[in-house]
């Protein structure tokens, strides 16, 4: 948690990152940046999914609709915050010549998306009960 707080401070303080270690090959930094952007797109897609659930499923019961939309939006927020945090951690690891940080977030997100997909299949097969 303390590590996370320090990372949050680094989001806003670029000079502190560039004081640590040595600058890596710019291609590695750019690859890290693209990974960050890919996660940001994932987050935007989740947020778009939240809007879509709210807009295009008017037949769903209010609680289900709002619950599903808020869950997708929360996942989007989590995903984008995690994107910048992971980017900072990777950037620091590359500067210090350490191993890149490992994360269980992709597995958790994958499982969550799979659960939502299975739930949607069940809802469709059950003929929109509810």
């Amino acid at each position: 948690m303390i590590d996370f707080a320090r990372n949050v401070r680094l989001w806003f303080a670029p000079q502190e990152i560039s004081e640590e270690g040595s600058t890596p090959d710019y291609r590695f930094s750019l690859a890290n940046e693209r990974t960050f952007l890919a996660w940001l797109r994932t987050a935007l897609a989740l947020i778009g999914g939240g809007f879509a659930v709210d807009q295009f499923l008017p037949d769903l019961r209010w609680a289900w609709r709002v619950g599903l939309a808020l869950a997708l939006l929360a996942a989007g927020v989590l995903c984008s915050l995690r994107a910048v945090n992971h980017w900072v951690r990777c950037e620091r690891a590359m500067r210090q010549g350490k191993d890149l940080p490992v994360s269980r977030f992709p597995a958790l997100l994958g499982i969550a998306v799979a659960i939502v997909a299975v739930a949607m299949v069940i809802v469709v097969l059950a003929g929109w009960e509810g």
């Binding site: 710019y26 750019l30 940046e33 952007l37 935007l44 984008s80 900072v88």
Partner: protein, 105 residues
């Protein structure tokens, strides 16, 4: 632009530039969905405010992306993305999600 011997054979800056473009496109889709949601149930003061807010956020994201693309295009060995820009891009995304939560609720 750079002369051919300087060019990175892996086209890393170009790929990064296109990644920014794709992300801007995604944020455009989110902004359009937000505008549709905000103005869906008739034009209300709340809807207009949220719609304007989402447009501003989209413009902010566009500015960040454009700034980064310009930096990538003008340097043969581009400097890394600054945390400030990364945070700005993420905060725009989070703010759109907050607007969405207000609309949904």
């Amino acid at each position: 632009m750079t002369s051919p011997p300087d060019r990175d054979p892996g086209l890393q800056p170009e790929r990064t530039r296109l990644a920014w473009r794709r992300t801007t496109l995604s944020s455009t889709v989110a902004a359009v969905l937000a505008a549709k949601a905000a103005l869906h149930g008739g034009i209300t003061a709340e809807g207009i405010i949220i719609c304007a807010l989402c447009c501003t956020l989209w413009l902010s994201f566009l500015t960040v992306a454009h700034h980064r693309i310009t930096t990538l295009a003008t340097n043969s060995a581009p400097p890394p993305l600054t945390p400030r820009h990364a945070t700005a891009a993420v905060l725009c995304t989070v703010a759109v999600a907050v607007c969405a939560a207000v609309l949904v609720y």
